[in-house]
Amino acid sequence: MSCTEIMEWVNTKEYQELNFKREALVINPPKACQPLGAIFCAAGFEGTLPFVHGSQGCAAYFRNNLSRHFREPFSAVSTSMTEDAAVFGGMNNLIEGLQNSYSIYKPKVIAISTSCMAEVIGDDLNSFILKARELNVIPKDIPIPFAHTPSFVGSHINGYDNMLKAILLNLTDGKKGSKNNKINIIPGFDPYVANIREIKRMLNLMGVEYTVLSDNSDVLDSPQNGNFEMYPGGTKLEDTADSINGIATIGLQKFSTMQTIKFIQESFGHEGLSIYPPIGIKATDGFLMKIKKLTGRTIPEELEIERGRAVDAATDAHQYIHGKRFAVFGDPDEVFGIVNFLLEMGGEPVHILTATGTKQFGEEMKVLLGSSPYGKLANLYTGKDLWHLRSLLMTEPVDMLIGDSHGKWAARDAGIPLLRIGYPIFDRVNLHRYPTIGYQGVINLITWIANTFIDEVDRKSDDAHFELLR
């Protein structure tokens, strides 16, 4: 076969079958690795320095990656292990790294995560940290939570989860005291700083006291005031410590908070639960009702009016979305939220694809799809990549692809628009500053999806059909 013939052949059903039999090879993976999620999580705490124990290079990748998505500086340090460390272990690297980090960057907390190499040689982080304290290279009392986050297990969402658990374990240790009146909110691996702000705004309107556990919204969206600050915000350490005394903890993603929620259920002595992200009217309703139940607060009129506006936006624009066919890919939680929203609008998800995803995710997605007549066409593919997705787009076309920037080639080949939602987004500005959750998120999603379709109509119209009104 010639190159052209191959390029045509890969668009066929016959090839798709072969493609889905592929096991040894991943082509265009829609996932990153654990330590990326870990440093993203660690950055959300006051004065906390994300510290990667592993090979040279890993941390440079993560910093680049996060910096490009948020268009912000991202600070993290690395122990840059080399061959010597492979042979003799990484203790010296870790101790020297802690010493340098403390003396140069003056953090209040150093949050250690690992990349592959440290995990394969089996470095004992706990004893290394004790050794560093013994040697007096760092103060005895500086908190150093650490998480094992090998890249050969799970993905960035698991790294987020493991790091958060480690930080809570460390900072809440021995802090059990009298109950406060706060509810703990865990955003999960959420690449939208505006989502954290939106949650806080809604809770403020309800008069609920809360602590957001890993609040990196101010760190990854700091104001332009002429000064680069290394630690421009984050969850206060005392609030983090006191989170053990809250009335409940609620995770706004299920699969990026599993270990943490389990830990909270076992050791905080209060209710710990996780839900799918409040994307869409019904999911936002569900979130607010849950908060109402947990805190006894009522839903204020402002939110009632806001809900009405979101429903109005949905009715105004339903004709642009109803009956359209979609492919959605990304992290399980976000994908679940988007699918739920599409069903609500009468959009028809056809291909749903995630790189990770557990059995539980599969079952719950099945229930969700079964609950709506618009979910009938949908197939869920877990553990798959963007080359699988490309096959699907070619053999069973859809009207729009929803996912991160990596989807742009598949969308281009299929001749359909890509609506950028998720992580990473490297080729558009400011999207992370718009919420996708809550009633405001509903309005944003409708705006983006409907206007993208309308843009397509304008772009493709001949003169006769090019109109002012759409």
Binding site: A24, V26, I27, S55, A60, Y61, S78, C116, H406
Partner: protein
């Protein structure tokens, strides 16, 4: 493990200062990317090859599709192929998986070659990637080339050189141009580019200049290249080494093995581009070529000066702090000088000793910036009253937070700055950032303050 010769690779005989410990080859203290990254940057622009990353999701998942090298043909090089090693692969070994992955690529994509990158984990667990590649090569008839560049070996530059060795050992000289229906006697005035990666399409501007002069570019190593053109690179008359630090071993190796001389050149700025064209033309000792080169230089300079007239007044006397990654700082300094911009400080963490020498002669020793931590870069900008930071993407948002105009000079930039047209684009970009009205808003206090 195939990296016993790391120390050898770090010693570079063609480096004039090799009797001193080459600063560039020192182990860094961190912050820079790794040997895998360096090797990948060099080889990835071979557009019709498949690049398979054997390792955990870290090495591919965080980086694929993120390079600035452009292609005029195949886009196979952009695909993120990885074995995505899992815990089970580490426990039970993944040579079988790797082999299957290679065969899959060979069968489904028919690439010109497959580069297999061995990263930290397979290197640590001692997988025999070289043998797997050899077997797969026999089986498929396609060159399957092992690139043993685990990140823990060291910094990016080491990886560049490992890739250079790979090119010398597995690619260059493996085919003859006569295999493809050309006669060796037809080859007149041929050159190769070494260490040019076609970032933002830079090579296209340069190629057109040589075309006008009548000098033929046989192989581009590796920007916008095909695997095939590199296999017969050894037929060229002259090598132009464009990014000295990264692939000096390829230039030297080709001189030793095939007797091809090399010249270090740069295409940043009018002065550098002119001398590169002139030097290349003179090498061939052909009066016609030399005359045509002079003509092209004259024409292009006239065009450039005219195009620059829009910007030159605005740039005169501006001051810049420079911290480049791979690009030779001295050549950018020269380009900036063409624009009337003075470099008040220059980071040299990633520069070789010979580069540092040239930088010193251009701006003076006191302007050399050895410590390139964010704090120090900012201090250099403020203490020298600089108007702009010219650096890599990782410093972009640091600069913006401090209200400092910025342009990206590294790998990921989207504008081609090489050659005559490139200089005009650079001038335009610098004017756009320095004179953006947003700085006025940003610098003013809120009215109620």
């Amino acid at each position: 493990m195939g990296f016993a010769n790391t120390a050898e690779i770090l010693k570079e005989p063609a480096c004039k200062l090799n009797h001193q410990p080459d600063r560039a080859c020192e182990r860094p203290k961190g912050g820079e990317s790794c040997a895998f990254d360096g090797a990948f940057i060099v080889l990835n622009p071979i557009t019709d090859a498949a690049h398979l990353i054997h390792g955990t999701i870290a090495c591919c998942g965080n980086s694929y599709e993120g390079r600035g090298s452009l292609s005029s043909g195949s886009r196979l090089y952009r695909y993120g192929f990885t074995t995505d090693m899992t815990e089970m692969d580490i426990v039970y070994g993944s040579e079988g998986k790797l082999k299957e992955g290679i065969l899959y690529i060979a069968q489904r994509y028919k690439p010109s070659a497959i580069f297999v990158y061995s990263t930290c984990i397979p290197a640590l667990t001692g997988e025999d990637v070289e043998t797997v590649c050899k077997d797969a090569c026999k089986k498929t008839g396609i060159p399957v080339i092992p690139v043993i560049a685990p990140g823990f070996l060291g910094h990016k530059n080491l990886g560049n050189r490992i890739a250079g060795e790979v090119l010398l050992d597995y690619v260059i000289g493996t085919r003859r141009i006569s295999d493809f229906g050309f006669r060796i006697s037809d080859l007149k005035h041929t050159i190769n580019f070494i260490g040019e990666y076609n970032i933002a399409g830079e090579i296209w501007d340069i190629l057109s200049l040589f075309e006008k002069i009548g000098i033929n570019v046989l192989s581009k190593i590796t920007g916008d290249s095909t695997f095939r053109e590199i296999t017969y690179a050894h037929h060229a008359g002259l090598n132009l080494l464009v990014c000295g630090r990264a692939l000096i071993n390829v230039a030297r190796g080709m001189e030793e093995r095939y007797g091809i001389p090399f010249r270090e050149v740069s295409f940043y700025g009018m002065k550098n581009t002119g001398s590169a064209l002139r030097e290349t033309a003179r090498f061939f000792q052909d009066k016609n070529i030399i005359e045509r080169a002079e003509m092209v230089i004259q024409e292009e300079e006239a065009f450039t000066k005219k195009a620059l007239s829009l910007y030159i007044e605005k740039l005169k006397g501006k001051r810049a702090v420079l911290y480049t990654g791979g690009v030779k700082s001295w050549s950018i300094i020269s380009a900036l000088n063409d624009l009337g911009i003075e470099v008040t400080a220059c980071g040299v963490k990633k520069s070789s000793l010979s580069d540092i020498d040239k930088i010193k002669s251009l701006i003076g020793e006191e302007r050399i910036l050895k410590d390139v931590s964010p704090k120090n870069i900012l201090e250099a900008i403020y203490s020298t009253n600089a108007d702009i930071l010219i650096a890599g993407g990782r410093n972009q948002y640091l600069a913006y937070k401090e209200r400092i105009p910025f342009i990206d000079i590294n790998q990921e930039r989207h504008t081609a700055y090489a050659g005559y047209k490139g200089l005009v684009r650079m001038a335009e970009d610098i004017v756009k950032t320095i004179y953006s009205p947003v700085w006025e808003i940003a610098k003013k206090k809120s009215p109620w303050e």
